[in-house]
Symmetry: C2
Subunit: 402 residues, 2 copies
Amino acid sequence: MVNEAMYARGAESSVIREIFSYANERKAQVGAEHVFDFSLGNPSVPAPDAVRASIERSLTLPPEVLHGYTPAPGMPEARQAVADSLNRRFGTSYGMADIFMTVGAAASVSCALHAVACPGEEVIVIAPYFPEYRVWIETAGATCVEVPADPQTFQIDVEAVAAAITPRTAAVIIDSPNNPTGVVYTRENLEALARVLDEANAGRAAARENQQPIALISDEPYREITYGAEVPWVPSIYEYTAVCYSYSKSLSLPGERIGWVLVPQASAWGRRVMCAVAGAARCLGFVCAPALFQRVVIDCVDVPSDVEAYARNRDVLCGALKRFGYSYVEPDGAFYLWVRSPDPDAEAFCERARAFELLPVPSNSFGAEGWLRVGYCVAAEVIEGSLPAWEQLAREYGLQAE
Amino acid sequence: MVNEAMYARGAESSVIREIFSYANERKAQVGAEHVFDFSLGNPSVPAPDAVRASIERSLTLPPEVLHGYTPAPGMPEARQAVADSLNRRFGTSYGMADIFMTVGAAASVSCALHAVACPGEEVIVIAPYFPEYRVWIETAGATCVEVPADPQTFQIDVEAVAAAITPRTAAVIIDSPNNPTGVVYTRENLEALARVLDEANAGRAAARENQQPIALISDEPYREITYGAEVPWVPSIYEYTAVCYSYSKSLSLPGERIGWVLVPQASAWGRRVMCAVAGAARCLGFVCAPALFQRVVIDCVDVPSDVEAYARNRDVLCGALKRFGYSYVEPDGAFYLWVRSPDPDAEAFCERARAFELLPVPSNSFGAEGWLRVGYCVAAEVIEGSLPAWEQLAREYGLQAE
């Protein structure tokens, strides 16, 4: 037949993609330099030269070696390189068994969710949140439970998480540096979350109702994109953590689909979950991560991300918006600015901004009302060019300029 | 919690992978030249030079263009190149809208199954069959219904398919050239299948119970690996067909995960199914096919597959096994020989063959008893070196040599 649930997911428009398409139309009509597209999270910084050098080196290998199937969890050398890099940075002692190479961040989260959640269970997300989390949670047959972040700081509201936990809670997904707010969760915030989860786990053990701990899925595609803040290593704070990673942002390789899931193998829980991650990858049809880019990971695992351009964009944009009277959340990482919409109806503001060819994303699709996501992974000229429009809109909405 | 279904899929051993691991152990112990590993379908023919040339050309592009996200259905140029190539070969008139680029054959079949089957429905496979079909069918929530092929020719037993159709039948999966038998379904056989499906659809329409036609999923990773037989273009024979393709075998790129699904957009059915394919790709976590290899497809879509080496292996292996008294199915395509096990218990034969370091795959995991799959995508020396073992085993089992 035709699967109506899948049809609906294919037919429903992603607001972000829709704005991106509209931007491209307008660029064709009025010239690219007159359109200020802040919709997508496509890195504007090119992949480092080391990526090209790695690919060129790989091309000297026999093609049947280079392009052959890798083991399902990935090439041993790639998994070991990732583990070694983490150990150097976080004082951990991982081995290749702790790492499962994936077809990018979406595959990492999808496989991790299928591994730790069962149909009928619940997965908590911290709103605002990346909209695809809901899609993947529901595909795994679970229910997406939104818990709003602290409305001032956009840190995790730990008490609200505690209140949302039920016997059916399978996992909590966090995402730091955060998309869409740019916030990095502090160590104190994560430790408080860990205490809440540990207490819930202890309660379960005592009640003998549900002996399984709550999994923490830490989705970290923006880990390397920070402006000075510490991004704590979550498995060192909470035992039952699976880390989902991708090189889409850190090495600017979003089209190549390469990432990993880490599940620490020190515990029986970790060994069971990693086996379920492998099962999920198999069941969903992943086979193995792209072989050539597994070799890129081996060669480039310690190549630093180039955040200079994002940092400059951030400073210019924040400085100007502050002057014009906008309020926003100070971004510690990622390349998104979370701006309070001058209109309580963020969609109405975005509609009005279109007259100025200014294209942020309204917050509704992230599970929050009255905010704008401004993706500043764009050319510096886009930031500069957009400022008169931001200023004029501020004036129209009567914002108090500094 | 831990999803037990996913855990089980991760924990269960693939017989093929197990034999492959055993082969590698033995090679380390007794020397690679003394082990005759016929387990895997990993192409022994290297990717053509055109692949390397394409990658080198792509490396001259700006990295943010080369490695950026592509649209979810793929780069328009890649989709158009595939459509144009099919039109030249099959007299069709496809456009880019008929093609959805995927992360390899497994993704193609997984997405197609999720698009056309709903939980509680049934999907028919022709036994023997590629074992992962069952995994993907069950992940989509459907039931895998095995219909044995004709026991002499291993063509589709069309009457048996007709008998297996119920109101819950969502789809039939076929795979020609076939893994594991090497058989290519004839045009007559496919036309007979189409008649059966059309009749079932007409019956449904008349009964007004289930207005949806039965989908035919034609999985064709081996389309290019043939030895003279015609491989008919299935959508020209049966309207409600989705073709699943990959470049793993035709261009020897199994590790790079690149393929496509074709669903003809001429009908409302096709448009609905393609939208559901896009929804499935999104729900399962695929995002887009690897960008660099989408460009390889643009450049190499018409590069012929190098079947010379497989043809030589096939001739040597078939000639020798016939002389020793084995019977087998004449292979028209793919790189598998389907040999009648001299022992009715194929696993017992394989156990005995291990004493000679001879490693075929017993038929059980393909849904058939008493056969062996011999993957001849290996170096010519492996074939030559294995012949004394085949001969000795034939003698021990009392086969009548020619």
